[in-house]
């Protein structure tokens, strides 16, 4: 299933991750952008504001709002009238949107929003982890996580296409690690206008708000019918599973770039140990795997690209015959002492014929760096699990015991 992505160096430029995303949004021809700055997302909306000022996003309204709650609320209206709508946020800003996130999904508005993943307060911390978006897991938003700035740029176009599909019509968060990806300068091919015009057709929803033909969105549903609305949303999420795969394949055919659909695999063939993770840590893990493979450690990577909808089947196919699965989480469900990807991976394996030990590590909280040595240590733990079974199921990584 792995597709080879050949990058043409002639077409690449070195830019900041935030610029790459802003450019991709411009290329997708949005009609409404709402913006409220918050570190480390700010550069994205700043770059979009420059594009607007330079007249490079025609037929678009850029709305400065007074809070993140308003940022998303404004898009509820604009998306309902049939405008392709975009915003970006992070951390406390995303949490302030919590109520509106449900409204957007419930009204089936295919808004796309970049989340520059950051820890949540208190204590105040502006650095990267995944607690902000993971905490919005059940709001009905598709969640995709990117490994590098090329992927998050390309993912922007894919997100609009997935969300706006008639069988999906659910909003999408494209998640990029704050600072690590939002502020990095590295080479990429900026999203191409001509191909994108063909890849992403104009947004033409079936039902729109129109004063000449008035409709009510998100109307009242009593106990007689509310369940059915929730069922429809769940069915749309299940439709998104296939759409995310199809869209990644179609993207590969047209652009020649592929970073996985629901998941991606790296050196998983013949692997005894599979590491599962999301986001920018993927690159570091790949380097560790290459190093350990030279020492004949049979380790591979399962990159989870879609966290919602959860790719249960795709994951099971990869880990079915391995000896141990290690799940890395940049988040924690307090009171469960485990991260979300670990909990959910374990849960999809229950009631199946797959019997593989799964261990979890919570790491990178609040921007704590994850060096290669940490991942090497975890893999040697996994080798120990292969020999003598699980001793600790889920744990904090690199905890400074002397501080607590």
């Amino acid at each position: 299933m792995a597709r080879e992505t050949k990058m043409d160096k002639q077409k690449m430029v070195v830019v900041e991750g935030s610029y790459a995303v802003a450019n991709a949004v411009r290329v997708c021809k949005p009609n409404v952008i709402s913006a409220y700055p918050i570190t480390p997302q700010t550069h994205i909306v700043e770059e979009l504001s420059k594009f607007m000022a330079d007249g490079e996003i025609p037929n678009c309204e850029y709305i400065n709002v007074e809070s993140e709650f308003s940022a998303l609320s404004a898009l509820v209206g604009s998306s309902a009238v049939g405008a392709r709508s975009y915003s970006a946020t992070t951390s406390q800003g995303l949490e302030l949107m919590h109520e509106v996130l449900f409204n957007v999904a419930g009204m089936r508005l295919p808004i796309v929003m970049t989340v520059a993943n950051r820890a949540v307060s208190a204590p105040i911390n502006i650095w990267n982890d995944h607690q902000d978006s993971i905490s919005q897991r059940d709001t009905g938003w598709i969640q995709l996580y990117a490994e590098n700035i090329q992927e998050v740029s390309d993912m922007t176009a894919q997100a609009f296409k997935i969300s706006e599909d008639r069988d999906v019509m659910m909003p999408c968060m494209t998640c990029m690690d704050g600072f690590i990806l939002s502020h990095v300068y590295e080479p990429l091919v900026l999203l191409e206008q001509e191909i994108t015009d063909e890849f992403l057709p104009p947004f033409r929803p079936e039902r729109i708000l129109d004063s000449k033909n008035p409709l009510t969105f998100g109307a009242f549903a009593d106990p007689n019918i509310y369940t059915e609305f929730r069922y429809q949303q769940e069915r749309a999420m299940q439709n998104a599973l296939k759409k995310i795969e199809d869209t990644a394949n179609e993207f590969y055919d047209m652009y020649g770039r592929h970073f996985g659909g629901l998941i991606d695999e790296y050196r998983t063939e013949d692997a005894d140990i599979i590491i599962m993770a999301m986001g920018s840590i993927i690159g570091t893990i790949k380097d560790v795997i290459d190093r350990l493979r030279e020492r004949n450690v049979k380790v591979g990577l399962l990159k989870v690209r879609a966290f919602r909808p959860f790719p249960a089947e795709a994951i099971m196919n990869v880990i079915r015959d391995v000896k141990v699965v290690v799940v890395l989480d940049k988040n924690i469900s307090l009171g469960m002492n485990a991260g979300a990807l670990f909990i959910e991976t374990k849960s999809v394996l229950y009631n199946t014929d797959i019997d593989v030990p799964v261990i979890g590590y919570m790491m990178g909280q609040g921007g704590r760096d994850v060096p290669m040595s940490t991942i090497e240590k975890i893999i040697s733990d996994a080798e120990e699990v292969m020999r003598s079974g699980i001793k600790i199921e889920s744990q904090f990584t690199d905890l400074k015991e002397e501080l607590v």
């Binding site: 089936r108 009510t216 998100g218």
Partner: protein, 86 residues
């Protein structure tokens, strides 16, 4: 009936639900005392005080729930709440 994704439906359907039947007291209007200050129209929570061409008002009894805010707020006591005969 099939439900529509996003709970999208025709707008203004609440018009068929005539809430005037909830009323116990109904407002009655004394034109002689009215100074056309519009407070009743402004404060009615159900948009049931309708302006007339001559600047005075009339009640939309189809939707007036008889809450009495208009009578309470009228500075000239031009509105009185009268027990509804049902």
């Amino acid at each position: 009936m099939k439900i529509v994704p996003g709970a999208v439906c025709e707008a203004g359907t609440s018009r068929v639900n005539k809430t005037g039947g909830w009323r116990t007291f109904k407002p009655v209007y004394d034109y002689d005392k009215c100074i056309k200050c519009k407070l009743c129209e402004l404060l009615c929570p159900d948009s049931s005080v309708l302006p007339k061409e001559d600047g005075y008002f009339e009640f939309d009894y189809d939707y007036c729930k008889g809450c009495g805010i208009c009578a309470n707020e009228c500075p000239k006591q031009a509105i009185t709440m009268v027990l509804e005969e049902k």
